[in-house]
């Protein structure tokens, strides 16, 4: 099993710094979510890892081998799915996968079995005799996934693999990726947070060509999420709610409070103090509450905050 390592990667397109000293490590056998807004450098990174593009500066290793352009033995061990996979449209999916099998040097018997297996895996066996030219975007994406798996890769590089799919198709593909965990290292770029939250063990957030943070999902949530509470009162209690909020603002375990009429959101510095003090103080203030809730921190909050901070620098 092999992972990915990137050290000080730079890529300039004229004046544009697509990558600006990127570092990252992907542990073997994990699913790595490469998260960032559009134009952050995700596709460039993947293109360098596959050898399609050259880094201006810096090094990268995939499956233990240093990345270089053109033919390299490591091609046998990786799978790649670009954002918009392209095919020989005059072929049928069966023929295309067979062609890929030939390129990988699989013997005929093995090839036929593998093609059948993959067509079933991605649910294209019913259309296996139709020409690819008539395929929908979702079908092309699934065929793209199949072609990236022909050689049973050790490292799978996926560029926005599920972004183009409808919710049902996305769920299927994510479940498929889930099953690959432990068998191969998956490196998936995406700008959709829920995908990452669902399957990724480790998350890296990239913005403007730099890695902002790389950490396991749990650690990221624990470290960056600010604990928050929400309190909702019955109508007619706006006045006491406001008074209560004003009082709370003076407490040192409070970070900030957003007031939205009947609902208020309280971000706290010290979660333990908040757990012990918040509810009793609300009772004391005579509020009639319809809801009192401790919010689960979301990855989206962290993402937006980190990317936002990056922008301000």
């Amino acid at each position: 099993m092999a992972g990915i390592r990137i050290e000080g990667l730079h890529k300039y397109y004229g004046q544009v710094h697509a990558l600006d000293g990127l570092d990252l490590t992907v542990e073997p056998g994990t699913v790595f979510g490469f998260l960032g807004p559009n134009g952050a450098g995700k596709t460039t990174t993947i293109r360098i890892l596959t050898g399609l593009a050259r880094a201006t500066q810096g090094d990268a290793w995939v499956a233990g081998e240093k990345v270089s352009a053109d033919f390299k033995p490591v091609a046998h061990r990786i799978g790649y799915l670009p954002e918009e996979p392209a095919f020989y449209d005059w072929m049928t999916p069966r023929e295309f996968l067979d062609h890929i099998g030939r390129v990988f040097g699989l013997p005929a018997s093995q090839r036929a079995a593998r093609v059948k297996e993959l067509l079933e895996l991605v649910g294209l066996e019913d259309v296996s005799k139709r020409r690819i030219s008539g395929f929908s975007r979702g079908m092309r994406q699934r065929l793209g996934l199949a072609q990236s798996l022909v050689n049973k890769p050790e490292v799978l590089l996926l560029d926005e693999a599920v972004s183009a799919l409808d919710p049902a198709g996305r769920k299927e593909v994510l479940e498929l990726l889930e099953r690959l965990r432990g068998q191969c290292t998956v490196f998936m770029s995406t700008h959709i947070l829920t995908d990452v939250e669902r399957v990724c063990d480790t998350i890296g957030i990239i913005a403007r060509g730099k890695m902002l943070v790389q950490s396991s999902r749990e650690k990221l949530l624990a470290q960056y999420a600010i604990p928050a509470f929400e309190v909702e009162v019955e109508s007619g209690f706006e006045e006491p709610l406001n008074a209560w909020i004003e009082g709370l603002r003076r407490e040192n375990w409070i970070q900030s409070i957003q007031d939205n009429g009947l609902i208020c959101r309280i971000l706290v510095e010290d979660i333990e103090a908040a757990k012990h003090n918040l509810l009793p103080s609300a009772m004391q203030a005579g509020l009639v509450m319809t809801r009192y809730e401790m919010l689960r921190p979301s990855l989206e909050d962290i993402f937006l905050r980190l990317v936002g901070e990056g922008e301000q620098e």
């Binding site: 053109d70 033919f71 091609a75 046998h76 996979p85 392209a86 390129v103 040097g105 072609q147």
Partner: protein, 252 residues
């Protein structure tokens, strides 16, 4: 192994996209039509007013007129076909993204390129062979038998002549960013070669001379133009090597 896979794909594509049919149909039709046109040209001229007198001034058509027609027609159209079927070969795969899909797999870029050239060369070998055979048959019916070794040599020279333009257009297809650009650049190169050829003394060392040589062989002349053959083969090798070097360095 992967050369075979790539070559198989190229040949399958020629069949499925009807390129083989198209090239074959054009060349075979000219193979049949050339001796026929040579034969009936005087008859056609007779049909126009005053044609009778003009026709009497013309010598009766000979077997060499059939050969000249064949060289002129297939020579011109095979260049045009070479351009049409080659100009998109690489640039289209880069543009659509299939090149990127395939070249991250264990398929070296040079193999990818050489499979394309080999498939195109095979296509012209087959179609010129059939066209040559067709022309041989009609010439035999209309005029009499052609000298077989000389006829084989003529068609071999025609093939080398075509492959010069296949290799040059393939080079353009690697270099340019669009199919139209590749076609235009290839036309430009074609123009430059014919321009150089018009300089006295240089023309006989250029690919065009191969056709003249072939015609001479049919007429029983013994003059040789080896320099034209070496220059042609040199252009083919240089164009392919250049295409390979540039393609290796390109980002896909």
């Amino acid at each position: 192994m992967n050369f075979q896979a790539a070559l198989r794909k190229e040949m399958l594509e020629q069949l499925r996209t009807y390129r083989l049919l198209m090239v074959g149909a054009v060349l075979i039709v000219f193979g049949l039509l050339s001796p026929l046109l040579a034969k009936i040209t005087p008859e056609i001229i007779k049909m126009i007013p005053e044609g009778e007198t003009i026709a009497q001034l013309l010598p009766p058509p000979t077997i060499l007129d059939a050969v000249a027609q064949y060289l002129k027609n297939t020579g011109q159209f095979s260049i045009l076909l070479a351009l049409l079927v080659t100009m998109g070969a690489v640039v289209q795969e880069k543009d659509k993204g299939t090149a990127a899909m395939m070249l991250v797999k264990p398929l070296p870029r040079l193999t990818f390129l050489m499979a394309k050239f080999t498939a195109l060369a095979l296509m012209f070998i087959v179609t010129i062979a059939i066209a040559g055979l067709a022309c041989y048959y009609y010439t035999w019916l209309l005029f009499g038998a052609l000298d077989v070794p000389a006829w084989l040599a003529l068609n071999g020279l025609l093939l080398v002549f075509v492959l010069v333009y296949v290799a040059l257009t393939l080079f353009c297809s690697v270099l340019m960013k669009s199919q139209a650009g590749a076609g235009a650049l290839a036309l430009g190169l074609l123009f430059i070669i014919s321009l150089i050829g018009s300089i006295p003394g240089l023309g006989e060392h250029l690919p065009g001379q191969l056709l003249t040589w072939g015609g001479g062989l049919m007429a029983g002349e013994t003059e040789t133009y080896w320099s034209a053959l070496w220059v042609s083969l040199g252009i083919i090798v240089a164009a392919l090597a250049g295409a390979g070097l540039i393609f290796q360095k390109q980002e896909l």
